[in-house]
């Protein structure tokens, strides 16, 4: 028969183990954030493209097919920015580098911090859409009423599966001037 102290000791050991699981799972919740990013890269959820400049590798240009790239611009919470793509559509050959220009202008009389967030559709093409230069890598600062031309340089990896004929690249500009968008009220 168990004696009481033994049970107490067993309980303490078990509680410690269980508490360890609790703490580990709390950590796991946070670990899901980077895991999700990795997962997104692998599966193309939400079409997240690379967030820092890729090296300009030389690819063999695939002249045999043409991919249509669409450029779409949006503003979050109608941020006071004029934002447009100078080109709406571009037909490209995989493996060839292209530069396209976007124009953004601060419509307010104050300096502004804003960030463009890219999203690609279909999401699975994100890993084949390689950007060597993009205004979306960093937060952009604008002086009052300042407008600027912002280049994007990219290449489509020739490995892109044949079934994709059209890729849509969307940028949404977020006005981050006030510390955080959500605190604005």
């Amino acid at each position: 028969m168990n004696n009481n102290d033994e049970i107490k000791a067993k309980n303490t050991r078990l509680v410690r183990k269980l508490l360890f699981i609790v703490i580990a799972m709390f950590g796991f919740g946070y670990a899901l954030v980077p895991i999700y990013d990795v997962f997104c890269d692998l599966t193309g959820i939400n079409g997240k493209t690379n967030t820092s400049a890729a090296d300009e590798t030389v690819y063999e240009i695939d002249k045999s097919r043409e991919i249509t790239i669409e450029f779409i611009t949006s503003l979050n919470e109608s941020a006071p920015i004029l934002f447009e793509s100078k080109l709406k559509k571009l037909k490209v050959h995989p493996g060839q580098y292209y530069t396209v220009n976007f124009y953004a202008e601060n419509k307010t009389n104050q300096p502004m911090l804003a960030r463009a967030i890219p999203s690609i559709s279909p999401g699975l093409t994100a890993e084949y859409f390689i950007k060597t230069e993009c205004f979306c890598f960093l937060e952009q600062t604008f002086k009052a009423k300042e407008g600027k031309m912002m280049p994007l340089r990219f290449v489509i990896d020739p490995e892109l599966p044949d079934r994709y004929k059209t890729i849509t690249l969307a940028y949404t500009f977020f006005d981050n001037t006030e510390a955080s968008v959500k605190n604005k009220r």
């Binding site: 028969m1 004696n3 107490k8 981050n176 510390a179 955080s180």
Partner: protein
């Protein structure tokens, strides 16, 4: 020292021979029976609080047009109804049954950690009070649905941090409760009882305990991220800072789906305890029940994104989560077949606990069928976020979890009080509930299929008739539950009630240790572990 209650170690000496006198008994008690009662009473009160909110919702939806409340308050009601019912009513009610019954079912003198037990109850009360206080704050209570999806939830007024802290408190309370239950089951069993001789209620709670420990911290993490996103400039879920609102949904449902099973697994356990007693037969397929429960629990961790088929997942994700979800039908089916086989060739009688249990098996299966239909991802593109979903999960929660809670109440209250409840009234309560719950929820299938989205305070006129039917059902169902309170109080008072025998139900002692104890059950039980285990034939 023999196994005289470990409670001696933990409580004041004057708790030795019975409860302390006066109201302080309830504040400081570490007795599993007292704490169990407190959990159950608290859950019952919350059931009516959450129910009142549901009736406000159904009153507004009685007719098209806005009659009673503003849309924002309506959204607060749907949100608070869900949070109160999930965290305040259903979960605490099962913890209450666990407190009362697990030590008695496994021949233990008390819970393993009696003081933590007391603390986890009072933390639950504090958490719910904090949640309720948000109703009176500027900007109103959270109104973003119980899922608290950002960015919408970040538009909550002053209530946001309080809602988050209340989730923390409720989480800690559940985690402490779960740890306590696991420790009790693993360490406090009568030495003669092996794991595979435990009653299924104990088994399901053991598995539920592990689920809770695994998921509550994840939820706590998710809401903490909401808090820091709003106040400390992190951007976990804010696209502007490189975050992603969909990430929250993944984390939430990683918690949320197992959470659903936290509410249903103990339901399975109680049903598996009640049905054999009234069929006068041993439970059919005990070990397959245990394995089915364990596999349902395991599967619950890999199906979460079926709540998010329309967020724009890649096709591989859609298919994976569809297949995984469909598989759940197999172990769930096994359970339903086992219950049916338990009834087969028995000698059934139909007292209130059995009636509620049979209704549970039938109506839960209906909820399971709609669940299977929704698991088909392409079709879910129509079902998602409609009243079809509302009907589905209410079928798995109300005529399932809530019915089984009622069944458990009627089943064990004679043991607790030593008095038989009023069977005639209880059967009336059953029939009123069983009929009205279908008037309430069945038409919601039609509404959803016809195109009514969920969480809307007003609707197009073609949805009028079924909404009216549903609302009528809601009011009948809601007021029928007052009968339960009346029957319980009458039984506790004991006047005009027959005395219960020790066994209470015919040959019940064959089915579980709790029926070998006297009725009413003494304040301290199993100071010495039992020698004979009635369930040893498993």
């Amino acid at each position: 020292m023999s196994a005289v209650a470990s409670e001696h170690e933990h409580t004041d000496d004057h708790h030795d021979h019975g409860p302390a006198k006066g109201w302080m008994r309830w504040i400081v008690t570490t007795n599993h029976k007292d704490i169990g009662s407190m959990y159950l009473i608290f859950a019952l009160i919350m059931f009516f609080v959450g129910g009142t909110m549901a009736l406000i919702i159904r009153a507004e939806l009685f007719e098209p047009g806005m009659q009673f409340v503003e849309p924002q308050f309506f959204n607060s009601m749907t949100t608070m109804h869900a949070l109160v019912m999930v965290f305040g009513a259903v979960m605490p009610a099962f913890v209450g049954f666990a407190n009362w019954m697990i030590p008695m079912m496994i021949g233990a003198p008390d819970m393993a950690l009696p003081r933590m037990n007391n603390m986890s109850f009072w933390m639950l009360v504090a958490g719910i009070l904090m949640l309720a206080s948000t109703l009176f704050m500027e900007g109103g209570a959270p109104a973003s649905g119980w899922t608290l999806y950002p960015p919408l939830v970040l538009q909550t007024g002053d209530a946001l941090p309080f809602a988050v802290f209340s989730v923390h408190l409720l989480g800690i309370s559940s985690i402490m409760g779960a740890i306590n239950i696991i420790a009790t089951i693993l360490n406090m069993r009568a030495p003669k009882m092996s794991l595979m001789q435990m009653p299924l209620f104990v088994w399901t709670w053991l598995i539920t305990g592990f689920l809770l420990i695994a998921i509550m911290p994840v939820f706590a993490g998710a809401v903490t991220m909401l808090l820091t996103d709003r106040f400390f400039e992190t951007s976990f879920f804010d696209a502007a800072g490189g975050g992603d609102p969909v990430l929250y949904q993944h984390i939430f449902w990683f918690f949320g789906h197992p959470e659903v099973y936290v509410m249903i697994l103990p339901t399975f356990g109680i049903a598996s305890t009640i049905i054999p007693v009234f069929a006068r037969k041993p439970l059919f397929g005990y070990s397959s029940m245990v394995y089915a429960t364990a596999s349902i629990a395991f599967l619950s961790f890999i199906v979460w994104a079926h709540h998010m088929f329309t967020v724009g997942m890649p096709i591989s994700g859609e298919l994976f989560f569809m297949y995984a979800t469909m598989i759940i039908a197999v172990p769930t089916g096994v359970k339903i077949f086992n219950w049916t086989a338990t009834m087969w060739k028995g000698a059934m009688t139909f007292e209130a606990p059995m009636l509620f249990s049979i209704a549970f098996v039938v109506l839960f299966t209906l909820g399971g069928f709609t669940g299977l239909m929704m698991s088909i991802a392409p079709v879910d593109f129509q079902y998602h976020d409609t009243y079809f979903i509302v009907a589905h999960f209410h079928y798995t929660l109300v005529p399932a979890s809530v019915f089984i809670l009622m069944a458990g109440g009627y089943f064990w209250i004679p043991k607790w009080t030593g008095k038989m409840y009023d069977e005639r009234l209880a059967r009336l309560h059953f029939w009123l509930s069983a009929i009205s719950v279908n008037i309430l929820f069945f038409p919601q299938h039609f509404l959803g299929l016809a195109g009514m989205p969920r969480r809307i305070p007003d609707y197009a006129t073609q949805f009028s008739d079924w909404n009216m039917v549903s609302s009528i059902g809601a009011f009948i169902f809601g007021f029928s539950q007052l009968m339960f309170v009346y029957i319980v109080i009458k039984t506790i008072k004991g006047k005009d009630c027959a005395d219960a025998t020790d066994e209470v139900w015919e040959d019940a002692a064959k089915h579980g240790l709790e029926w070998t104890l006297p009725s009413p059950v003494p304040y301290h039980t199993f100071a010495t572990p039992p020698e004979k285990i009635p369930t040893e034939h498993f």
